[in-house]
């Protein structure tokens, strides 16, 4: 009885969809099913975005020993609604010298590109919009479109700050696209599939009640950390928020945006955070599978969204902790630290794959990763001369 109930709750959205489609003629069902799913995604994630903004402002406030928003509604929960109404009623200013068409298209392209990423994420058991065999490839291809929209925004604004922000954004996003991809490739190597659904299925097994998530392996752990670093840079989040650089570039590539277009950029940024966290959860944290076999009765979609929100909180936590990097530090970090480590991780994953079961592969793989990490850290830190800086031109 209990099993049956938990199964129904697990599949409640799928059953609901089938029940709704049951009223339609069979010929329309596939198309309308997709439209309904898209509508749900397009409504659900902006709602989650509002909640995430509230969470971010509250969390950051608490990390800085402030209260955060607390005026609109209980605990300031309606603050995002007030912000939304404000941005909707604001005047939409387009600079006189701006390229109006591109200026208008940039936020649209961003949001569309980000929304398309959600298509392949399995948000629960049997809950995926398109079960693509090469879903991961599709995701990264679509994800690269956000760079285009950012550059469109910066270029069309005809503003030096916007353009500087866009240049930084493109340099940063393209640099970190490489480690992002390579850190995800290890999962493909081990699971042997590009389909997110199959990757989650591969992780949805238990030994002694503990899950087979990829994060609990040496290469998976290293891969997850590298993936997290690359995603933070990809979504332009602090400490990699140079493209926005509030204190130096006003708001970077969306300096010249106001009203609802600004809100769209904001939305796109958070949606990108959601989708990339969702992908990280799918690749390394077992997707919708529960962390303990004993907790399997909790609906799978709760696990997925719970994990996504934990990742969002980690993003917020990092933002509250770390200062912004300099441009050269950012580039050095990408090409001299993250990229070599992802390559090492590929090698380690290959070793893991061919050493077979047993304790030995755990020891060997962990030792390689840990050894190279400490060595690179030591080498990297040695070259750095800390202390007062001298400027030749100031002497």
């Amino acid at each position: 009885m209990f099993d049956k109930l938990s199964q129904i709750f697990d599949q409640i959205f799928v059953l609901l969809l089938h029940w709704m489609l049951g009223f339609l003629p069979a010929i329309l069902r596939p198309a309308l099913g997709v439209i309904v799913c898209v509508a749900v995604i397009v409504c659900l994630f902006p709602a989650l975005f509002a909640f995430a903004v509230w969470l971010e402002r509250k969390g950051l406030g608490r990390m800085q020993n402030r209260l955060g928003p607390n005026r609109v509604g209980p605990f300031g929960l309606f603050q995002p609604i007030a912000d939304g109404i404000k941005s909707l009623t604001k005047e939409d200013i387009v600079p006189l010298s701006a390229d109006a068409v591109v200026h208008f298209l940039a936020p649209v392209v961003l949001v569309v590109a980000v929304f398309m990423g959600f298509a392949i994420l399995p948000m629960g058991r049997n809950m995926v919009l398109v079960d693509m065999d090469c879903g991961l490839l599709f995701y990264f291809a679509i994800g690269a479109m956000t760079e285009l929209s950012v550059f469109m925004a910066g270029w069309s604004s005809r503003n030096k700050y916007s353009l500087l922000g866009a240049m930084r954004a493109v340099a940063q996003m393209i640099s970190y696209e490489v480690p992002l991809l390579l850190s995800a490739v290890v999962v493909v190597m081990i699971s042997g599939s590009l389909s997110p659904v199959k990757i989650v299925d591969a992780q949805n097994q238990y030994t002694f009640g503990l899950p087979h998530w990829y994060i609990f392996t040496p290469w998976g752990f290293a891969g997850f950390i590298l993936y997290a670093i690359a995603t933070t840079a990809e979504t332009n989040r602090s400490p990699f928020d140079l493209p926005e650089g509030e204190s130096e570039l006003v708001a970077g590539y969306f300096t010249e945006y106001s009203g609802f277009k600004f809100a769209l950029f904001f939305l796109g940024e958070y949606l990108a955070m959601f989708s990339i966290s969702g992908l990280g959860v799918t690749l390394f944290l077992g997707g919708w599978s529960s962390p303990l076999q004993a907790l399997n009765f909790v609906p799978s979609w709760i696990w997925f969204f719970g994990k996504v929100f934990v990742s969002i909180f980690v993003f917020i936590w990092l933002r509250g902790t770390l200062p912004r990097l300099r441009q050269d530090q950012l580039m050095n970090f990408a090409w001299k630290f993250v990229l070599p480590l992802t390559l090492v991780n590929l090698f380690v994953a290959a070793i893991w794959r061919f050493m077979g079961d047993g304790l030995l592969r755990w020891i060997v793989c962990s030792a390689i990763i840990f050894g190279i990490y400490t060595l690179m850290g030591k080498l990297g830190m040695k070259r750095e001369h800390f202390g007062p800086r001298r400027y030749r031109y100031a002497e």
Partner: protein, 215 residues
């Protein structure tokens, strides 16, 4: 090791995050309109004019009668942004020691111009202009509403005692000393005059008779 600084930083922010829910000293925010902290004694916002409530005579409301200001216009001349406007009276009124003094027929301070520098307070020889601590002065009328006339500026000495107790006590002591000195001087002058008169009167009774006859 590489990365331990980041972990330390994360631990610190986590401590803040959790601590702010449990520890009062971590969350020091005062939610202003509902909660307030009393202004500290040396706080200063915009000037006020002190008036004494005593029976020195004269007609009109207490604030007009008791105003310490003598319209000497030193503050008006010293004010760096020139936000004070004073019109001197034609007649005189007795001040706190009973000496007849001019008084301001008009005393306006434009607080949209005032920069709260306190120079007017420093230069005032009559302990009349002091700094207020009241700061909720927003108004819908940005011209008339921010131009305070002497009635709005006048505050009783008790109020001054309430906002700046130490300073007000010193001022009162100084004024009392000045008053006793003035009275002693007046008394001495009167005595001297009386003595002089007595000395002048002593030589003959004819003078007294002469005055009586004159009367």
């Amino acid at each position: 090791m590489l990365g331990d600084g980041i972990l330390k930083g994360l631990a610190e922010t986590a401590r803040n995050f959790i601590g702010s829910y449990f520890l009062k000293e971590r969350l020091t925010t005062v939610q202003y309109p509902e909660q307030r902290v009393a202004p500290i004694e040396n706080a200063r916002v915009f000037p006020l004019l002190v008036y004494d409530v005593d029976n020195r005579g004269g007609s009109g409301p207490a604030w007009e009668v008791g105003l310490r200001c003598t319209a000497c216009q030193i503050c008006e001349k010293e004010c760096p942004p020139k936000c004070i406007y004073i019109e001197k009276s034609k007649d005189k009124k007795p001040d706190y020691v009973g000496k007849p003094q001019f008084y301001p027929a008009r005393f306006d301070i434009d607080i949209s111009v005032c920069m709260s520098c306190q120079i007017c307070v420093e230069v005032c020889p009559f302990e009349s202009i002091k700094m207020d601590t009241h700061f909720e002065l927003s108004t819908g009328d940005r011209f008339g509403g921010l131009l305070l006339d002497r009635e709005q500026l006048a505050k009783p000495n008790e109020y001054y005692h309430r906002i700046h107790p130490t300073e007000a006590a010193q001022v009162d002591a100084r004024l009392a000393a000045a008053k006793t000195a003035f009275e002693a001087k007046a008394k001495a002058a009167a005595e001297a005059a009386a003595a002089k008169a007595a000395a002048g009167a002593a030589p003959g009774i004819s003078a007294q008779q002469a005055t009586r006859e004159g009367a």
